[in-house]
Symmetry: C2
Subunit: 127 residues, 2 copies
DNA sequence: GTGGGTGCAAATACTTTGCAACCGA
DNA sequence: TCGGTTGCAAAGTATTTGCACCCAC
């Protein structure tokens, strides 16, 4: 890849994600960034999100519907609410089962394990 | 939902999935079923796949790119090859961490845990 | 006959891309 | 200036939907 050049738009997208506890979609990022850069385009948001993922500064979470983006790249699990679709961090440490599985599974080498939990979040339960 | 009526197309889609070890996309299902029903439409394939998911007869696996469908609905994990994108079953039993996590996580009640493993499959390693 | 199912095509949702203008180094 | 970045729009990919006709019950 070519040498990276500074861009205010990318900086803003990055800061926005770092400040959020949830995991916004590209469209949510776009709507928010547009308050600061009214002319920014959705294409630029997508391009910068992909770039940041490649750089390892954020991670992409593929769930039902639109992809979500997470500035916390340290390994952790996610909780997906089956009702409202929100994605929450599960920061509780769990032993990574990848090693254990590698010992008896021979279809390929497992490099990473992601756990996805499903249920109804407390917010939805109230309503 | 209304009362289900028999359809040869749905039957065929279901049998096709039951016979496969891998996890075809809707488009792969469409291509194969078309050998038997040359006039079947992609819309019909999608409609029936959704219906079968609702009925709990198959499950949908959301990964990068197109969704995949799996006739094995018993809880198990998946291995996703980072190179060719293929999805393989990991039938190795692991204690479900959901219970453990529920004890110390209070954002909602976890009903299910899905583990996704990532790496390079043996087939890709050979090439 | 009735209502669910189908084929077809158009529409929708999400994401990527081509291109000329713009801007950081 | 040079080449990475942007805005815009068009294209691309995956999935859903409206509708007239068909077929299981």
């Amino acid at each position: 890849m070519a040498v990276l050049k500074y861009s205010r738009q990318r900086e803003s997208i990055k800061n926005y994600l770092y400040d959020r506890e949830d995991h916004p979609t590209a469209d949510m990022v776009y709507s928010s960034i547009r308050e600061q850069f009214p002319n920014i385009s959705l294409g630029t948001v997508y391009r910068n999100l992909s770039l940041l993922v490649e750089l390892g500064e954020i991670q992409k979470i593929t769930t039902e519907g639109a992809d979500r983006f997470d500035a916390r790249v340290a390994p952790h699990s996610h909780f997906v609410c089956r009702q409202c679709g929100s994605v929450l961090d599960v920061m509780i440490p769990l032993d990574n089962p990848a090693e254990e599985v590698n010992r008896c599974w021979d279809q390929g080498e497992i490099e990473e394990c992601r756990m996805n939990f499903y249920g109804i979040c407390n917010h939805c339960k109230k309503n």
